[in-house]
C-alpha cells in the first residue's frame, strides 16, 4: 500500500520534471541562446505576457480574448445543439425502423465521407460569412457523429431483452424508450463527445477562413501581424476550451448514464 503510494509520487514527480524540463529548454533556446527570433518562435515568458495583455487590450484584431472566446462558444454551441437535436433522433430512428434505415441510409452514406469543414466554402457562398454559415458547418459535423453513434448504440440492444419486453406486452414505443434507448445511452454520449470535438475543430477552421471575430480569427490575425505569441495564446485557449467542453460532457455522462458501462 505504502509502496504503491510512493511509486505514484515518484511518477508524478517525473511528470512535473518533464514538463518543466521542456519549458526550461524552450526558455533557454529562445531567450538565452537566441536560436530562433522571437518573431518566429516566442519564448514562454512572451506567451504568458501576451496572454495577460490580451485579456484587456484589443490590438491587433479588434477584440479582447474573452470577447473572441464568447463569440466562438456562441456559434459552436448553437450549431452543436441543433446538430444533436437532429442527429440523435435520426440515428435512433434509423436503427429502430427498417424503413427509415432503407430510405435515409443511402443519403447519409453519401454525406458521411465528406469532412464537415469541406462544406465551409459552399455555406459561405450560400449564407455569407456570418453566424449562419458557421453554425451550418458545425451542425453537419455534429449531426454525422451523433447519427453514427446513436445508430450503433441502438443496434447493440440485446434481442433477449426485446423478447422479454414482448412477453410482458410492451408496445413498440415502450420497447424503444425503456429498453433500446437506455442500452444505447453510453454510445450516444460517446457520440456527443466525438461530435463536440468535431464541432470545435470545424469552428476553428471556419474562423480561420472567414470571420471577423472568434479564436480562429484571432490566431489568423496573429499570423498576419506576425505575432506568434498571440497565435500560441489562441492555440492554447482553443485546446483548453475543447478540454473543458469534453470534461463537462464526461461529467454529464457519468451523471446520466450512471450504472451503465460508462466508467
Amino acid at each position: 500500500m505504502m509502496k504503491a503510494k510512493n511509486k505514484k509520487w515518484k511518477y508524478t514527480l517525473i511528470s512535473i520534471c518533464s514538463v518543466s524540463f521542456v519549458v526550461i529548454v524552450w526558455y533557454l533556446c529562445i531567450n538565452v541562446l537566441h536560436l530562433k527570433a522571437e518573431t518566429v518562435f516566442p519564448g514562454p515568458l512572451t506567451v504568458v505576457k501576451t496572454f495577460i495583455q490580451k485579456l484587456y487590450t484589443k490590438a491587433p484584431d479588434g477584440a479582447t480574448l474573452p470577447v473572441h472566446l464568447i463569440s466562438s462558444l456562441k456559434v459552436a454551441l448553437l450549431g452543436y445543439f441543433l446538430g444533436v437535436l437532429f442527429g440523435v433522433p435520426v440515428g435512433i430512428m434509423m436503427a429502430w425502423s427498417k424503413w427509415v434505415d432503407r430510405l435515409v441510409r443511402p443519403l447519409f452514406d453519401l454525406i458521411r465521407p465528406v469532412p464537415g469543414l469541406a462544406w465551409i466554402p459552399m455555406f459561405i457562398l450560400l449564407f455569407g460569412i456570418g453566424i449562419t454559415s458557421k453554425a451550418a458547418v458545425i451542425f453537419l459535423s455534429t449531426a454525422v457523429a451523433c447519427i453514427v453513434n446513436s445508430y450503433t448504440g441502438i443496434r447493440q440492444t440485446k434481442e433477449e431483452h426485446l423478447w422479454v419486453g414482448d412477453v410482458f406486452g410492451a408496445t413498440n414505443i415502450q420497447k424503444l424508450f425503456r429498453i433500446a434507448v437506455p442500452t444505447a445511452l453510453p454510445m450516444i454520449f460517446t457520440g456527443l463527445r466525438v461530435a463536440m470535438g468535431a464541432a470545435w475543430m470545424a469552428l476553428v477552421a471556419a474562423e480561420l477562413l472567414a470571420a471577423s471575430e472568434g479564436l480562429g480569427y484571432m490566431i489568423q490575425q496573429g499570423r498576419y501581424s506576425s505575432k506568434p505569441a498571440l497565435v500560441f495564446v489562441g492555440m492554447l485557449m482553443i485546446g483548453i476550451v475543447g478540454l473543458v467542453l469534453d470534461t463537462v460532457l464526461h461529467y454529464l455522462e457519468r451523471k446520466v448514464a450512471k450504472g451503465m458501462n460508462a466508467e
Binding site: 511509486k7 511518477y11 508524478t12 517525473i14 511528470s15 512535473i16 518533464s18 514538463v19 521542456v22 518566429v40 518562435f41 424503413w99 432503407r102 430510405l103 435515409v104 441510409r105 443511402p106 443519403l107 453519401l110 454525406i111 465521407p113 465528406v114 469532412p115 464537415g116 469543414l117 469541406a118 462544406w119 465551409i120 466554402p121 459552399m122 459561405i124 457562398l125 450560400l126 470535438g197 470545435w200 475543430m201 476553428v204 477552421a205 480561420l208 477562413l209 480562429g216 490566431i219 489568423q220 496573429g222 499570423r223 506576425s226 506568434p228 497565435v231 500560441f232 489562441g234 492555440m235 492554447l236 482553443i238 485546446g239 483548453i240 475543447g242 478540454l243 469534453d246
Partner: protein, 261 residues
C-alpha cells in the same frame, strides 16, 4: 436465402428512390425557386466534373489535384502514425515513459490540428512542409491514445505466462504486446486517417496552389459554386477510398480477432 435476396432488392430500390428524390428535389429547387441563382443543378455539376477530369481546374486536372492531396496525406500519415503508435505502445507498457511523455501529450492533444495552421505557416512557410507537418500532427494525436490503451490492456496472464517461460522484456514487447495491441492501433489509425484527410483539406483551403482544398477555396473566391460542389464530391470519394483501404488492411491484419472488425 430468398428472404435475403428480397431484402437486398428492397434496399437497393429504396436507395434509388431516396437518392433519386434528393436529386429531384435539388433539380426542382434550382429550376423553380430563387435558389437557382446560387446553386447549379446536379446535371451541371456532373458535366463540369467530367470536364474537370479530362480538362483542367487551375493548373492541372481534377485527378492530379486529388493525387496531390492524397500524396500529402500518405506521407504525413505514415510518419505521424509511426511516431504515434510507437510512442503510444511505449507509454502503455512502461510507467516511466508514460510519466515522461503523457503530460506533454495531454497538453498537445486537445488542440485541433487545424489550429496549428497559422503557426505552421510562420515556422515552415507556405510550401509542402507546413501541410505535411499538420497531417503528421493529426495522425499522431489520434493514434497515440489508442496504441497506449491497447498496450496497457494486454491480458496480464499472457505476459506472466511468457515471463514464466523465460521470455525477456524485449521479447515480451515484440511478440506479445505489439501483436495484442493491433486491433486498438487500427481503431486509432481509422480515426487518424479521416482526421488527416480533413486536415489536408483545411490546410489546402488556407494556402495552396493545388489539391482538393484549393479547388473548393478557389471556387469560393471566384463565386463558382459548380467547382465547389465538384470538389466536395471528390473529397467525399477520396475520404471514402481511404477508409475502405484502411478497413481492408485492418481486416487482413486482425483476421484472428473477431472483435477487431
Amino acid at each position: 436465402m430468398n428472404d435475403k435476396v428480397k431484402e437486398r432488392l428492397l434496399s437497393v430500390l429504396c436507395a434509388i428512390i431516396s437518392i433519386g428524390a434528393f436529386l429531384g428535389l435539388w433539380w426542382w429547387a434550382t429550376q423553380k425557386t430563387d435558389l437557382g441563382n446560387l446553386l447549379p443543378n446536379p446535371g451541371t455539376v456532373l458535366k463540369a466534373m467530367g470536364g474537370y477530369i479530362t480538362g483542367t481546374v487551375g493548373k492541372c486536372s481534377l485527378i492530379m489535384h486529388t493525387f496531390n492531396s492524397l500524396r500529402r496525406v500518405l506521407i504525413g500519415f505514415c510518419i505521424g502514425s509511426m511516431l504515434g503508435v510507437s510512442l503510444g505502445l511505449l507509454m502503455g507498457r512502461y510507467e516511466l515513459a508514460k510519466a515522461i511523455f503523457n503530460p506533454l501529450y495531454r497538453i498537445i492533444r486537445p488542440i485541433p490540428p487545424i489550429a496549428w495552421i497559422p503557426i505552421s505557416i510562420i515556422w515552415l512557410g507556405l510550401g509542402e512542409q507546413a501541410k505535411i507537418f499538420l497531417i503528421i500532427l493529426a495522425a499522431f494525436a489520434n493514434t497515440t491514445l489508442n496504441a497506449m490503451t491497447g498496450s496497457a490492456n494486454v491480458d496480464p496472464q499472457v505476459i506472466n505466462a511468457a515471463r514464466m517461460l523465460g521470455a525477456k522484456e524485449g521479447q515480451i514487447f515484440r511478440t506479445i504486446v505489439i501483436p495484442a495491441s493491433v486491433p486498438a492501433i487500427f481503431a486509432g489509425l481509422q480515426v487518424g486517417i479521416s482526421c488527416s484527410w480533413a486536415s489536408v483539406v483545411a490546410a489546402e483551403m488556407i494556402k495552396a496552389e493545388n489539391g482538393l482544398g484549393w479547388i473548393i477555396q478557389a471556387g469560393m473566391d471566384n463565386n463558382n459554386m459548380t467547382q465547389i460542389l465538384a470538389g466536395i464530391i471528390m473529397i467525399g470519394i477520396g475520404g471514402f477510398v481511404l477508409t475502405c483501404i484502411m478497413r481492408t488492411i485492418e481486416g487482413v491484419m486482425c483476421r484472428w480477432n473477431k472483435s477487431g472488425r
